[in-house]
């Protein structure tokens, strides 16, 4: 676990090179790797097998919880806590409760989507070893990075660096902790 470095990182100047490098690294058997790009790349998620995540399930649960809370709140207030008799009309007037139930469903689902996304990404994370690479600032502009992390079983500082060099990067650098 206590590796002297976080990993080695290769820099590419176009998205196609990054995608083929990511595929090559997967084929080589590396599993602990991550790619960094200035915009989402569909093929990259495909290359790194990232297509499934738990967010849709979380959002569904959030929506159901929100809707239930919304309806239960109105039922409790209108029927039990503060019943108002309007000309003998039923207290449990469900058609009038639909709108707030709907709004609460959307509100809870949206909050779950945002906070769930942050949670699954582990954000906010003010420090990350990749920020130690000076050129990494370009990952949010026009450069594409592939990082093989040192806790990968196949990781070997020299061999992995050499492997990355074969993929035609602009530069390979090591990522300090």
């Amino acid at each position: 676990m206590n590796q002297p470095i976080y990993g080695v990182m290769a820099e590419f100047d176009n998205p196609s090179a990054l995608v083929s490098a990511a595929r090559a690294a997967r084929e080589k058997g590396y599993r602990k790797l991550d790619a960094y790009s200035p915009f989402p790349i569909e093929e990259l998620s495909d290359a790194l097998h990232l297509h499934k995540n738990k967010l849709p399930l979380l959002v569904l649960i959030g929506g159901i919880v929100g809707g239930t809370i919304g309806y239960a709140l109105q039922y409790f207030v209108a029927v039990m806590y503060y019943p108002i008799n309007v000309g003998g009309r039923p207290l449990h007037s469900w058609p009038a409760f639909i709108i707030i139930t709907f709004e609460m469903t959307i509100l809870f689902a949206a909050l779950t989507a945002v906070f769930g996304m942050l949670g699954l990404c582990g954000l906010p994370m003010p420090y990350h070893p990749t920020f130690n690479v000076p050129r990494f600032a370009l990952a949010s502009r026009n450069r594409f990075f592939l990082c093989i992390e040192s806790d990968d079983p196949l990781f070997d500082h020299r061999k992995t660096s050499e492997f990355l060099e074969t993929l035609g990067p602009r530069e390979v650098s090591e990522v300090a902790h």
């Binding site: 176009n14 998205p15 196609s16 995608v19 083929s20 990511a22 595929r23 991550d34 790619a35 960094y36 790009s37 200035p38 915009f39 989402p40 790349i41 569909e42 093929e43 990259l44 998620s45 790194l48 990232l50 297509h51 995540n53 967010l55 959002v59 109105q74 207030v77 209108a78 503060y82 108002i84 007037s93 009038a96 709108i99 707030i100 709907f102 709004e103 609460m104 959307i106 509100l107 689902a109 949206a110 909050l111 945002v114 769930g116 996304m117 990404c121 954000l123 906010p124 994370m125 003010p126 420090y127 990350h128 990749t130 990494f136 600032a137 370009l138 990952a139 949010s140 502009r141 026009n142």
Partner: protein, 461 residues
């Protein structure tokens, strides 16, 4: 040499943004507005005007709080007039931002990518302006928290069967979701600003706001799911919000309000006025900041088409409104419609018909849609028309309701004007701060539009 002939397999699709941009240049061009460029004099001038109007707003609100609602022209039977007109107008303007950011995302309309950011900002600021009117109209605005159900010692709770409470939930949900959606969209661009700014304080500020975003593929995958889910949630939400706003009227039995087609009619009107506001903001912005390569004539053309289409729906609704009032056979409805067309508010009515039904037909012509100056003027005409529409629906119906003995023509006061113009000031003030402090075009989404962003896979795969 036949072999050297270059043959295109399929003609290249029409570019949404101008050719010649690279990942670096789009980033720098958009980020430079925030980071390096000097603020143009036009922007400083607008900011000054906005600030002035904002001060007028504070004065008007201060007077309202000390003297009460009588400073506005509210007299029975017209107990809500400009305030609710402004509320509906502002909420409606906000809807175009959500339409662009959510519905067009789901429909995979890529041209939205360079206008969605400032359209979403427009939504948030418009909803902020809208939200103030119902609160100011409460009479005792400091007790506004009574609108929410909370455990209290008074032993009373809001009535969930009232459209006004539905409005509280709809608008507050809408404001929250719009803000979250906007912020999520900003995160990658805040990271760009963090990496591009040289000043230490800026780096730290943008760094905190970006939450440590580093563009990891693992994050992008979750991020894309989150964006799609939020878009899918915002789409029914935006339609529900103006539907609920229209329920404020239709659930009442005032002649001219009590009608089942208000929800779709209001939603179309909302998008109509919202696109007008998008055009009114985009046209000056792109020429002041030299962004014509990113917000191209194609964008204006598309926005104008949406504006015209929704304008035609609105025009159809006016015709159906008059028709159903006549055909329904209810004397009160017939009288209310006749009063609208020929009564004390006839000028407002016919001006709104000219603005909303006749004027948008000019947009059938490509020449009109290609001329940004004309388009700018047209969008202002639509904004005026849509304000008048709400005014006529609300005030003409209330001033001459079921009981002729209580009829009274509404007269606006200078404080009605001051409050209304004041919110325009607030809107512009917030908007000018936004374009100065945050990237007004979504940088990462524009990068995906570039031809370089297309992945060329090896043929052997």
């Amino acid at each position: 040499m036949a072999k050297d002939q270059q043959v295109l397999d399929s003609p290249e699709s029409k570019q949404i943004i101008a050719p010649g941009y690279t990942f670096g240049t789009v980033t720098d061009q958009i980020a430079s507005v925030v980071l390096t460029k000097k603020t143009p004099y036009v922007v400083m001038g607008t900011f000054a005007v906005a600030m002035g109007l904002l001060l007028i707003f504070l004065l008007a609100v201060g007077l309202l709080f000390t003297k009460g609602l009588g400073v506005w022209g509210l007299r029975g039977p017209t107990m809500w007039a400009w305030d609710i007109t402004n509320f509906v107008w502002w909420v409606g303007i906000g809807h175009a931002g959500t339409l662009i950011s959510a519905i067009l995302l789901l429909l995979n309309q890529q041209w939205r990518n360079s206008i969605n950011r400032f359209a979403e900002a427009m939504t948030i600021f418009a909803v902020a302006c809208a939200g103030m009117f119902p609160i100011l109209h409460l009479g005792r605005p400091w007790l506004m928290y009574w609108l929410f159900p909370y455990p209290n010692t008074m032993g009373i709770e809001p009535n969930f069967r009232s459209p006004l409470i539905w409005d509280v939930f709809a608008v507050s949900t809408y404001a929250t979701v719009s803000l979250l959606f906007w912020y999520v969209g900003l995160m990658p661009d805040l990271a760009t600003l963090r990496d591009r700014s040289e000043h230490r304080a800026l780096k730290v500020t943008y760094g905190i706001l970006a939450m440590g975003w580093r563009g990891s593929a693992k994050h992008w995958a979750v991020y894309e799911t989150a964006s799609l889910l939020l878009a899918g949630l915002a789409t029914p939400l935006v339609l529900s919000v103006h539907t609920v706003v229209s329920f404020d009227f239709t659930v009442g039995i005032v002649p001219g309000w009590h009608s089942t087609f208000f929800p779709p009619y209001f939603v179309a009107g909302a998008i109509y006025s919202g696109f007008a506001m998008v055009l009114a903001l985009a046209i000056p912005l792109r020429s002041v900041y030299g962004l014509k390569g990113l917000i191209t004539d194609k964008h204006l053309d598309n926005a104008a088409k949406v504006m015209m289409a929704t304008g035609l729906i609105v025009g159809y609704s006016y015709i159906m409104e008059a028709f159903s009032a006549w055909y329904g056979g209810n004397v009160y409805e017939q009288a209310a419609m006749w009063n609208r067309m020929t009564g004390p508010y006839k000028y407002q009515y016919w001006v709104l018909i000219a603005c909303n039904v006749i004027a948008p037909n000019a947009l059938w012509f490509k020449k009109v849609r290609a001329n940004s100056v004309v388009l700018f003027i047209w969008s202002l005409i639509v904004l005026v028309g849509m304000w008048l529409e709400r005014f006529v629906i609300i005030v003409a119906s209330l001033a001459q309701d079921n009981l002729p003995s209580s009829w009274r023509v509404f007269e606006s006061t200078r404080w009605d004007w001051a409050t209304y113009l004041g919110t325009i000031g607030l809107f512009l003030f917030l908007f000018m701060l936004f374009i100065r402090l945050l990237p007004m075009i979504s940088i990462f989404e524009v990068r995906t539009l570039l031809p370089q962003a297309k992945i060329k896979e090896d043929s052997r795969r």
